[in-house]
């Protein structure tokens, strides 16, 4: 396909720059084109308003009320900042969910990216059959988010599962890992890492962009494999690493399906898999505290925005763009 193969880490800059304002045609023609623009854009605009913007504002309003679906709108009470106060001061399970989510993302995301990069390096050179390997490593990314695979995963790490069978080969006696509060979340991390194929194909695309002259120059200078990796591959790949890091971090925070399946929707055992989104779901749709759940959703949104901004600001120090100047 003729698309650009370099993922663009700052697409918004792309958008504004992409308007080639060729001052051609009369103003009437332009007016017609402007009208046509809005006609073509109208489904998206309606969607933006009805499905995204209005619900966002509604959710902001709800976060200051005790709305619960069951009571009629006329009896809904304004509670001010009570939900936010409760969240930050007197809801230990909220903070537990935050820490579960953070530890999940902090451990699973770097390991997933490391696996993706490692295998991408092994697959980088062209040889017969490399495409098949690439495809098969990518397969888990297509299947892994499903309920079906989560079911398989939970059983694999249960008492009679494949993992304990594997351990028994070495005479180690396993346990039902998914029922152990100390290990349940770890099994979900392994499931996330198992899906390293998606960042891997992005790394492969990035590796193709590294000019071979750089390796030639480095090897003329006597740099070995490791030094070439550290001094050529890593810096040249840093925009792609950054891109993957941002995406996988945001994805990591949103893990829901596997935690739901493992705990049958409770976040157990002993809240060990109470991911943020699962906690939000339980609050909003099991306990019907939709006001409180809306407050959680807004804090989640702000937290993700802040973390993204933080990632971008650290990016200045380690992401290297090869066009000569730092963006």
């Amino acid at each position: 396909m003729a698309l650009t193969t370099t993922p663009n880490p700052t697409p918004s800059a792309d958008g504004t720059a992409a308007a080639p304002a060729t001052p051609r045609g009369s103003s009437r023609v332009r007016q017609r084109e402007g009208l046509a623009g809005y006609v073509f854009l109208s489904p998206w605009l309606i969607g933006l308003m009805a499905i995204t913007a209005i619900p966002m504002l509604l959710s902001l309003y709800l976060s200051f009320t005790n709305y619960d679906v069951l009571t009629p709108w006329s009896e809904v009470e304004w509670v001010g900042l009570a939900h936010y106060e409760r969240m930050f001061t007197s809801d230990p399970s909220y903070w537990h969910a935050v820490s579960v989510t953070l530890s999940f993302a902090l451990i699973a995301v770097p390991l997933k990216l490391a696996a993706a990069l490692g295998v991408a390096l092994l697959l980088n050179r062209a040889w017969r059959g490399v495409g098949l390997f690439r495809g098969l490593f990518y397969l888990p990314s297509l299947l892994g988010g499903s309920v079906a695979l989560a079911i398989v995963w939970v059983n694999m790490f249960n008492r009679d599962g494949a993992f304990n069978s594997f351990l028994s080969l070495f005479g180690i006696e396993g346990k039902p890992w998914v029922n152990d509060p100390d290990w349940a979340l770890e099994t979900l991390m392994v499931l996330a890492i198992w899906q390293f194929g998606a960042p891997m194909v992005i790394f492969l695309a990035g590796l193709k962009q590294v000019p071979t002259e750089l390796y030639e120059a480095a090897s003329v200078d006597g740099a070995g494999t490791w030094r070439q990796f550290v001094n050529v591959t890593l810096p040249m790949l840093s925009p792609v690493i950054f891109f993957n890091l941002v995406l996988e971090t945001i994805n990591g925070f949103q893990g829901f399906t596997a935690a739901f399946v493992l705990s049958n929707g409770t976040g157990g055992p002993v809240d060990s898999t109470l991911m943020y989104t699962l906690n939000l779901y339980i609050t909003g749709f099991t306990e019907l505290e939709m006001g409180y759940a809306s407050a959680m959703a807004w804090v989640f949104l702000l937290a993700i925005a802040l973390i993204t901004i933080a990632l971008f600001s650290t990016g200045r120090f380690w992401v290297h763009y090869s066009d000569g100047e730092d963006r």
Binding site: L45, I51, S146
Partner: protein, 291 residues
């Protein structure tokens, strides 16, 4: 290992390296694919073997798991598969049409505030769906869409309004690669904005449309969160929601049937993978968001 210089003539150690590389890759691949083989094997094992036989293959082949699973609930899995297929196919249509229209506007037409709307669209790319689920539920419930005779509107209407910004972005990127001279030529021939869309952009955007179709199908087929929230009647359930019913039944006896149905549910995705393997891997390359 990566940092080999392709232009340097291969020394004899090149072959040795390749053998090492292949060995490592095969070992990793075996570990990665093991859960899938284990799932297939377990689907054909009897309950007794699931507990006692740690081997991959069943000693006695038990295809009965499939019929047991299929009819495990008051509604058969045939219904769940039909529901899933219907939602997924309609989502494909909705995404393809609405995202294509929006992408054409962003990529080719000049109108006021285009840069602004484009920036907003990019912003929604990173917006987590979980953030909007509560207010959307409330809105759709007010419209009478939740719990109605045909409760799929909350799942489908957004897809017909180009809310999957990922596909809009993918198509914009693709259309930017289509030479502008073609538009200009059509314009000189008197084509309107619609004419250019219909006769130039639409036919040339087929690869982007196919990528969109495949990914919308797979993501909708696998989606759980929204279907869990919006579907409440057993007969309206989709496959993922129905699968979670197996977890509720605490008895261990349902493991074989549960695996059999899980395996069946992954089959469409797997078939897509086999048919479009190269395209999937490259398609996600091109603007590889999500994953």
């Amino acid at each position: 290992m990566v940092a080999q210089t392709p232009t340097v003539p291969r020394r004899r150690s090149g072959l040795g390296r390749q053998v090492v590389r292949l060995t490592i890759l095969t070992a990793i691949l075996a570990a990665v694919l093991y859960p899938l083989f284990w799932m297939i094997g377990t689907s054909f094992k009897s309950q007794e073997e699931i507990v006692n036989n740690i081997g991959l293959l069943p000693e006695t082949f038990t295809p009965g798991n499939f019929s047991d699973g299929w009819n495990n609930f008051d509604v058969s899995f045939g219904r769940f598969f039909l529901n899933s297929a219907m939602i997924s196919l309609l989502t494909v249509v909705g995404n393809a049409v609405s995202c294509l229209l929006a992408a054409y506007a962003f990529a080719r037409l000049r109108f006021r505030l285009r840069g602004f709307w484009f920036a907003i669209m990019i912003g929604t790319l990173l917006l987590p769906g979980h953030v909007l689920i509560v207010p959307q539920y409330i809105l759709f419930r007010t419209f009478g869409w939740v719990g109605s005779d045909w409760p799929y509107l909350p799942l489908l209407v957004p897809q017909f309004l180009a809310t999957e910004a990922f596909f809009v972005f993918l198509m914009v990127q693709f259309m930017r690669g289509i030479p502008r001279e073609l538009d200009e030529a059509a314009k000189i021939d008197g084509a309107s904005a619609y004419g250019i869309f219909r006769h130039v952009i639409l036919p040339l955007s087929r690869p982007a449309l196919v990528t969109t179709a495949i990914f919308s199908f797979i993501w909708t087929w696998n989606d759980f969160f929204r279907q869990l929230v919006f579907l409440s009647d057993l007969s309206d359930y989709t496959v993922p929601v129905a699968l979670t019913l197996f977890i509720d039944s605490t008895s261990q006896s349902a493991v074989g049937p549960m695996f059999a149905m899980s395996l069946l549910s992954l089959l469409p995705v797997f078939l897509f993978f086999v048919a479009f393997q190269r395209m999937l891997v490259e398609g996600i390359n091109t603007s590889g968001l999500k994953g």
